[in-house]
Symmetry: C2
Subunit: 343 residues, 2 copies
């Protein structure tokens, strides 16, 4: 059972290869191929289970109907859900997604982008490491269609879909302050990423706005790789503050999770002794005791917008740059002292 090609069909039916190609691409009528011939071709093609070779097609047409997706880590729920959405949207338009995880490594991201270009993807969606400015600039220069998501390069004018991180955190700070917190800490990771910088900025600005004390000892920036090990010393520090915290905002869901583990270990009582909010949700946060208040990222919109923008670029070769900043949602739960039910 070897592969059958257009040639096999043509030979069998004693007609020419182009005719077969035309018919199989639904252009038979347009080219006025006789109904009879069309029928025979289609019937026989089905019979021997003809399938076109995407390589040959791609080589000829210069398009692959694939879009490349590069994200930091597919096993991170946030990116997995975005990926799913992108895949679904892309499928609607007959595009296949090739994805790979960069693992936050510039070298790997660079290599992945190269390899996807080699594979002739028609466009790229990238949640960049933000350490790859040069290559992104070069993509832009060669006019290759791509959209950045979640992370962007402020100094490079590209299409992107990002989230209003600053306002997201602002919502958290305001809510926590309204819930009665008077000294709010902020646990984040080293602000290499624009998104993280924005969250920090949002924290600082809003703390001032609501008139709470802004102190550097209330802010912790952990290493992305080793945050779990560091969490213990974070709370060592927090627990010895002269002005003790009564609320903490975690800048990512995994920090929140690690923080929860640590607080559980220390027997810190939520929300009585400490209120908390997580930026970015995590399933099961609603199940915890108390349930965790979260800032909700617009995952579906990120995926949908990215595909939308990219496909438009592919179709129209339009060079207009589109930059979308999406707003976060906010789900108040018990970890700030509320007794609000439902998720």
């Amino acid at each position: 059972m070897k592969k059958v090609s257009i040639k096999d069909i043509a030979e069998h039916l004693k007609i020419s290869v182009p005719t077969v190609s035309l018919v199989l691409n639904g252009r038979g009528d347009e080219k006025r191929i006789s109904k009879d011939t069309q029928q025979r071709i289609i019937k026989y093609a089905k019979e021997i289970q003809y399938r076109p070779n995407a390589f040959a097609k791609g080589l000829k047409k210069g398009r692959s109907e694939m879009i490349g997706l590069i994200i930091p880590d597919i096993s991170d729920a946030f990116y997995a859900r975005i990926a799913r959405r992108i895949e679904k949207e892309a499928a609607k338009h007959h595009y296949t997604v090739i994805y790979s995880s960069s693992e936050e490594s510039q070298e790997r991201e660079e290599e992945l982008i190269r390899s996807m270009l080699d594979r002739q993807v028609d466009g790229l969606i990238i949640a960049s490491t933000q350490k790859n400015k040069k290559q992104i600039e070069s993509l832009k220069k060669m006019n290759f269609p791509f959209v950045l998501i979640d992370r962007h390069y402020p100094e490079v004018e590209t299409d992107y879909v990002i989230v209003d991180n600053k306002e997201g955190i602002a919502k958290a700070v305001r809510h926590m302050s309204n819930s009665g917190a008077s000294n709010i800490g902020f646990v984040s990771i080293t602000p290499e990423l624009e998104a993280i910088k924005e969250r920090l900025a949002g924290y600082k600005e809003t703390i001032k706005e609501v008139g709470l004390p802004l102190s550097s000892s209330n802010i912790k920036e952990l290493n992305r790789q080793t945050y779990e090990a560091q969490m213990s010393s974070v709370f060592d520090d927090f627990c010895t503050l002269s002005n003790p915290l009564d609320g903490i905002i975690f800048a990512t869901h995994y920090l929140a999770t690690a923080g929860l583990r640590e607080m559980k270990k220390r027997g810190i009582l939520l929300p009585q002794e400490m209120k908390m909010i997580s930026y970015d949700q995590f399933s099961a946060f609603d199940l915890l005791e108390p349930s965790i208040t979260v800032v909700k990222q617009p995952i579906e919109e990120i995926g949908d917008s990215a595909v939308d923008i990219l496909l438009n670029k592919l179709k129209s070769r339009d060079t207009k740059i589109i930059q979308k900043v999406l707003q976060t949602g906010f789900i108040p739960r018990e970890s700030c002292g509320e007794s609000i039910r439902n998720s």
Copy 2:
């Protein structure tokens, strides 16, 4: 900045196309191309940033260095983690992964497999819907390299990597019984999948083995799409049993999550009034109050083994069938009455 081809290099350097190809593929020495020529080619190729066209290469060689991965849903943590692992392993051997989610639809799975074959993937890794027997058989007949993971067709002799579901549940039942439960319920989904059937079988057999009552009213089989809505009536039923339950085993992590929500709503006290275990873990299960005892699936091993088996097939064209059944782990936590700490 348009694409450069081997031809461009050849013309510029006034040498032949094949020579350039040879050198760029590192076969210069083997073919005794002069060092000088080699240098010039390599230098110029780098200068103009030559990148080979994977389509042309694939068309010619009949190989794509891609492997296709089909899973039910990339946003399910279980599959996302497997996907990540597969990608990582594949990358080590210079294979790119194309993935798609079948959404448990036979039609979609069929279409995805077809489309991946069109794209000339060298091999497939499939977590099948198990409704696609015909196509799987046809893959086998045409001797196309593929490995099933997580779900297999018992009636079809294929390579696969699955988990010992029966023993996994057996561990749960034994543990729960040892922890003092005397009437254990089982909440599962409709057993269309072999894996789910096995879990049910494991439950039934082990319940008998440990001498507890086996009653059909202790077993619930929910619909995969609507299990959340059904969970409430499950507990309506459970709460009116003449012989009330003191333990429940959930056959999947999402059932466990839904079950937890329902028990929380009803104020059922874990583990005092009810012990519970989840088959398949879920991050944050260790954070809940009480923390949830889980049967742990060997995610990394599934991914590694699948890639391993597939790549071996690709290399050696060996037709020997490899079927791996991996063992689950077990993490006792507080939801069975233990006070064991750490995850």
